[in-house]
């Protein structure tokens, strides 16, 4: 069941992105930026937890989970450390994704050259 739920959730979010992409002049860059903000907004409204309930892993794969994690980490930081916590905790939970992307991007770019 968790397989099907993850399939449906990631598929649906991707499909919404594709529909917006096809019916507007926005670029993929716009879509991803928009989706991160939407993720933070859904988290703010308490709706992202419903997605997490539906599929724990599925909800953390799309880029919307970035916004969700940023918002939650920053809020948690505020509650534990005060205003400075917003800044010092903001990137804690998303760190794995960001650092892995940076490190692998650098290593991989050492081995491959662009085709053109």
């Amino acid at each position: 069941m968790i397989y099907i739920n993850a399939f449906i959730l990631v598929g649906l979010i991707s499909m919404i992105g594709q529909i917006i992409l096809d019916n507007s002049k926005l670029t993929p860059g716009h879509i991803t930026s928009m989706f991160v903000s939407i993720g933070a907004l859904l988290s703010f409204l308490g709706l992202y937890d419903k997605l997490i309930e539906f599929s724990k892993i599925g909800s953390s794969i799309p880029i919307t989970s970035f916004g969700n994690l940023l918002y939650k980490a920053a809020l948690e930081g505020y509650y534990s450390k005060g205003i400075i916590g917003i800044f010092s905790n903001m990137l804690t939970t998303t760190s794995a994704g960001i650092s892995a992307s940076i490190i692998f991007a650098f290593i991989i770019s050492m081995f491959f050259n662009s085709k053109d």
Binding site: I2, Y3, A6, F7, I8, V10, G11, L12, I13, S14, M15, G17, Q18, I19, L21, D22, N23, P28, G29, I31, T32, S33, M34, V36, S37, G39, A40, L41, F44, S55, I57, G58, S60, I61, P62, I63, S65, F66, G67, L70, Y71, A74, L75, I86, M90, L91, G97, A100, S101, I102, F104, A105, F106, I108, S109, F111, F112, N113, S114, K115
Partner: protein, 144 residues
């Protein structure tokens, strides 16, 4: 019917079909990424890890895989075919960084690779962080 009218007609009828096909492709490809990540996630759960750690491992593995596939050049074909199905999951974030790194490597490590690494991923980080910040401020003001 002259050529212009014909083109108009084609334009009227073909995109909607393409859009439907694109949407379905995005659904299926996004779904498959969700499925693959669930498989990885379940494997890590079997190693007695909690769900947060397993999720982190899954994300790192997806990022590594998409980074390697981008390096090989295979990923660009996938993006062309499936578009948002690949871009919306975390794979798109990693893909954008790796492709920026590879494309700009020829201009040097600092002025090329380093300064262009976040060319596309930067907007995701900026607007994600900024909207999270604003929303936290709103939440704190209204809920204390």
């Amino acid at each position: 019917m002259n050529k212009k009218e014909y083109e108009k007609l084609v334009k009227k009828y073909s995109p909607s079909e393409d859009k439907l096909k694109n949407a379905l492709m995005a659904f299926v490809s996004g779904g498959i990424i969700g499925l693959i990540s669930t498989i990885i996630y379940v494997i890590f759960l079997k190693f007695d890890m909690d769900s947060v750690t397993s999720t982190a491992y899954t994300i790192v593995i997806l990022i590594l895989a998409s980074s390697i596939l981008t390096g090989i050049g295979f990923f660009d074909n996938l993006v062309e075919k499936f578009k948002c199905g690949i871009i919306i999951p975390i794979t798109g974030f990693s893909h954008s960084m790796t492709s920026c790194a590879i494309d700009n490597k020829k201009d040097g490590f600092i002025t090329g690779l380093g300064s262009n690494l976040f060319k596309l991923a930067g907007s995701v980080l900026l607007y994600g962080t900024f909207s999270a910040f604003i929303l936290v401020v709103i939440k704190v003001i209204f809920n204390g």
